[in-house]
Amino acid sequence: MKLNFILNGENMNIDVPGERRLLDFIREDLHLTGTKEGCSVGECGACTVILNNKAIHSCMTVVGQLEGGELITIEGLEKNGELDAIQKSFIKKSAIQCGFCTSGMVMTAKALLFSNPHPTDEEIKKAISGNLCRCSGYKEIKESIKDAAYNSNKEES
């Protein structure tokens, strides 16, 4: 299937089986291994990417569903050597331990801030309810997202 979509800000024109799992396409065909496979059934959030501004599981998506859309993976956040506000906050707030859940968490947080730049604690909790982290009690992660929201809004104003 011939597909046209935007990946991390760049136009893509590819020919790939439409039913190919998006996670495999990203990791194996595009060699972007930042997106992880944690459970393959949409329960852990490690494979989260952003499609048309919404956080989705790439393990539950096929490449055909990208058509005409815009896909962002973790690799697409850093721009010109500058980390995204969320990435900076995760580093600052010690929210990274083993790191395996990190890219999924960051993408979910990014999607949250797209639609809700001023999330409450409750909204943050709910937004990451589908992203599992076994190395922490989610405290540092929630604080990072709050911090990132604060800093992003500060920059804008």
Partner: protein, 756 residues
């Protein structure tokens, strides 16, 4: 040496090692590794719980385009190995093979396919046809203990571990006698990264290279090299970045398979387990039944304790006999005991293998013992904290089993500070008030426990460091470290940076590569910071001594007249006379004809205890049986928190797993068929970010004098007291005497219905 008030790194917040790489998705875990021509392995699971392979037809699978090999018991060596073996002198059960004809649990691998892609390997696996000759099963421990139970291994199903006896439990006397039995279910470690292994046969050199997220690269090397009869020097094991372990990646599970395929095909082979495979085909935390009996004086002093443990090892004994034995050893760490008895059994069943879990037995013992003491407190109408205060050890008292002092360990401080911070008495009263309502009941509970910071005296605990000053003044540190993702590499770097008084960014510290690293037994027993940290610290100090000598020669003065500060040696009465570390290196190399490096072997002669107490308040919905942790507090005697923020993160992880053990995580195995009913995360409803309660942490930092900067350990003990505290809180809320885990909603409603 800097004073504590001048510390730049120890106790300061710094982001974890490799943070930048992890937050950008650039760090490569084992499963991310890709290379041209890499082959992929997939395994075919059995569909029976016990039996023999009568016939296995791989012809169709072999004919699939892209398949390079199909392995079964028919075309692989019959050699036995043991996943738990770390060193070649260890006495271990040796029950496993690459592929067996005798299948012992549902899901056990019966064949492996290596192909050019995972998809093709998976497709070919489905084309393999297997016929079984089924045998009777022993799915539960009860089944396996029966006199006429089927023998899962020729040596039988039961391994009895040596008893521990101290004093005379049977003969001792006290006014009160209590008995309780605790049952604990299985959980999955649920590391976000599943198991993975990559093996490459390097055609140019005949070397085998293995990448694995592991806790003992040297252990893997020993097993693989012995299995394939290769010199250890020709097997190179590189620890890959680890996406969490909690014990499940400390055993040699996937590596023999990838190694075999790599050697046989002279290729680069990767095997990445799915979540289902991680649950069924690696290891689970043991299910156990532990009976505790105690003789207690009416004032609450414990006269004697007798503990009897039965652990389910799953289909292969692997480390379970050792685990069961070690559990008994934990009994000497917390309470003052004059009389103690411990006996344990490890029982094989036709179910997935159980294995190492965070704290290696401390969790299981704490659940049983703390459950018991909480019930005793209730029966004897003594406040549970008071009961503990009467019986816990004081600092430096002896561990009666290991016969070493527990070090600067503050059980009482943990209990008292925790009680005060948690407002224990106030909450007790508030619960009474709140419990006047019909639907929701509130309760508080607590537990105290400990763990260790080294292997000593269980075995010699040696850690080695080699530190090499580079020509520009930067530093390369070589220490046999396996970071689980919990910040131990960062801790080592901080220690080095603090001692050397240099910028931490100038320090490079890699994880174990058996080809270049000095030997390390493995990163378990929470020994990394204490032992490896000490090795790094002492080695840096030794390096500074050498550097000082070189500096004194270069500056032509007595080394006692030199002051060292922030990477520079200068003469105390003439600061203009100075040389930095770059200068030291240059002088030493060009003038003295030597390089600047040192090595140090640290031997632990202590195993400092790490008291930990957990306090929790729960709300029980008596209509639905749902238990919610309202609030909780973890108190840890950590010695010194080198990475305080990451340590707090670890506390959170311990609480998450403790809640799981106590309330909601249960890998159910069907008692008749042996099928693993929960084989993925659907229906395994681990506490997520929404349900995770708010929690507080208190670190008691009374430095352990032999610890690096006073540090002890925290990585495992964080989970230990959590589950028993929760069980106690539920019992307090409901007025019940429940001693099983997990207390799922249906268990709670059952208990309430029985009460009525």
């Amino acid at each position: 040496m800097r004073k504590e008030k001048d510390y730049q790194y120890i106790g300061k917040e710094l982001s974890n090692d490799m943070s930048y790489g992890k937050v950008t998705g650039n760090v490569k875990y084992c499963g991310d590794m890709q290379s041209i021509g890499m082959l992929h392995m997939k395994l075919k699971p059995s569909t029976i719980a016990h039996g023999y392979i009568k016939n296995i037809d791989i012809s169709e699978a072999e004919s699939v385009e892209g398949v390079k090999a199909v392995y079964t018991y028919l075309n692989t060596p019959d050699t036995e190995f043991d996943r738990g073996r770390v060193a070649n002198y260890e006495n271990v059960p040796y029950q496993e093979k690459l592929f067996n004809r005798h299948i012992r649990f549902m899901g056990e691998r019966v064949a492996g396919v290596v192909a050019v892609s995972e998809e093709i390997a998976d497709y070919a696996c489905q084309k393999i046809k297997v016929e079984y000759e089924e045998l009777p099963t022993a799915i539960t421990v009860e089944d396996a203990l029966k006199v006429d139970a089927v023998k899962i291994h020729k040596e039988g199903n039961i391994c009895v571990v040596p008893e521990i006896n101290y004093g005379d439990y049977d003969g001792c006397v006290a006014e009160n006698y209590h008995k309780s039995k605790t049952h604990m279910g299985r959980i999955t470690h649920l590391t976000m990264e599943t198991h993975a292994s990559r093996a490459l046969f390097e055609k140019s050199t005949g070397k085998l290279i293995i990448w694995s997220p592991c806790q003992t690269a040297f252990g893997i090397r020993s097993t693989i090299a012995d299995f394939f009869n290769m010199p250890y020097s020709k097997v190179r094991v590189i620890k890959a970045v680890m996406g969490g372990s909690f014990g499940c990646k400390q055993e040699t599970i996937l590596e023999p398979l990838t190694a075999y395929a790599a050697i046989h095909l002279k290729a680069d082979v990767k095997l990445v387990f799915t979540r289902e495979e991680q649950i069924i085909n690696t290891m689970l935390k043991h299910n156990a039944d532990i009976t505790v009996e105690s003789k207690i004086h009416k004032d609450g002093i414990i006269e004697g304790l007798s503990v009897s443990a039965v652990l389910d090892s799953g289909a292969y004994q692997t480390i379970t006999p050792s685990y069961t034995s070690t559990m008994g050893g934990k009994l000497g760490k917390v309470y003052r005991l004059s009389n103690l008895h411990y006996d344990g059994k490890s029982v094989c069943t036709n179910t997935p293998i159980n294995g190492s879990f965070r704290s290696w037995g401390s969790c299981e013992i704490a659940l049983a013992l703390e459950n018991h003491l909480n019930l005793v407190a209730e029966e004897m109408k003594i406040d549970p904290i008071e009961l503990r205060l009467k019986n816990v050890k004081n600092e430096y008292e002896m561990d009666i089993i290991k016969k070493v002092p527990i070090g600067n360990a503050h059980f009482k401080k943990c209990l008292i500070q925790g009680r005060d911070a948690f407002e224990w008495e106030k909450r007790k009263k508030e619960c009474e008030e709140k419990n006047k309502s019909v639907r929701y009941r509130y309760g508080i509970g607590m537990a105290v426990s400990s763990h260790t910071s080294s292997f000593y005296p269980y075995m010699v605990d040696m850690a080695n460091a080699a530190i090499h000053l580079q020509e520009d003044g930067s530093l390369i540190v070589n220490v046999g470290i396996h970071d689980h993702g919990c910040g131990t590499v960062l801790a080592m770097k901080k220690i080095a940076a603090e001692v050397m008084e240099m910028d931490i960014e100038l320090i490079e510290l890699g994880e174990v590569d058996t080809e270049v690293s000095l030997y390390d037994y493995g990163c378990y027993a929470s020994r990394t910071v204490y032992c490896l940290g000490n090795a790094v610290k002492h080695c840096c100090e030794k390096l500074l001594v050498k550097a000082r000598t070189v500096a004194s020669i270069a500056l032509q003065c007595n080394d006692r007249h030199l002051i060292y500060e922030d990477g520079v040696f200068y003469k105390e009465n003439n600061p203009k006379l100075r040389i930095d570390l770059k200068g030291v290196s240059k002088y030493c190399i060009t003038v003295m004809g030597e390089d600047v490096y040192e090595t140090y072997s640290y031997n632990a002669s202590e195993g400092p205890g790490v008291p930990a107490a957990h306090f929790t308040e729960v709300e029980v919905d008596t209509f639905t049986g749902m238990v919610r942790v309202v609030d909780c507090l973890s108190v840890h005697d950590i010695g010194k928190a080198i990475n305080p923020e990451i340590c707090r993160g670890q506390v959170g992880s311990g609480i998450q797993q403790g809640i799981g053990i106590a309330l909601c995580e249960d890998i159910k195995i069907h008692p008749k068929t042996g099928k693993t009913l929960i084989d993925n995360l659907k229906n395994y409803e681990v506490t997520n970010a929404f349900d995770m309660p708010d929690y507080k942490t208190i670190f008691i930092e009374e430095e352990e004098e032999n610890g690096p900067f006073g540090a002890k350990s925290i990585g495992e003990v964080v989970v230990v007291p959590v589950a028993p505290a929760i069980v106690a809180a539920v019992n307090h809320a409901l007025g019940t005497k429940l001693t099983e885990a997990p207390l799922t909603p249906s268990v709670i409603l059952e208990a309430l219905y029985e009460e009525n």
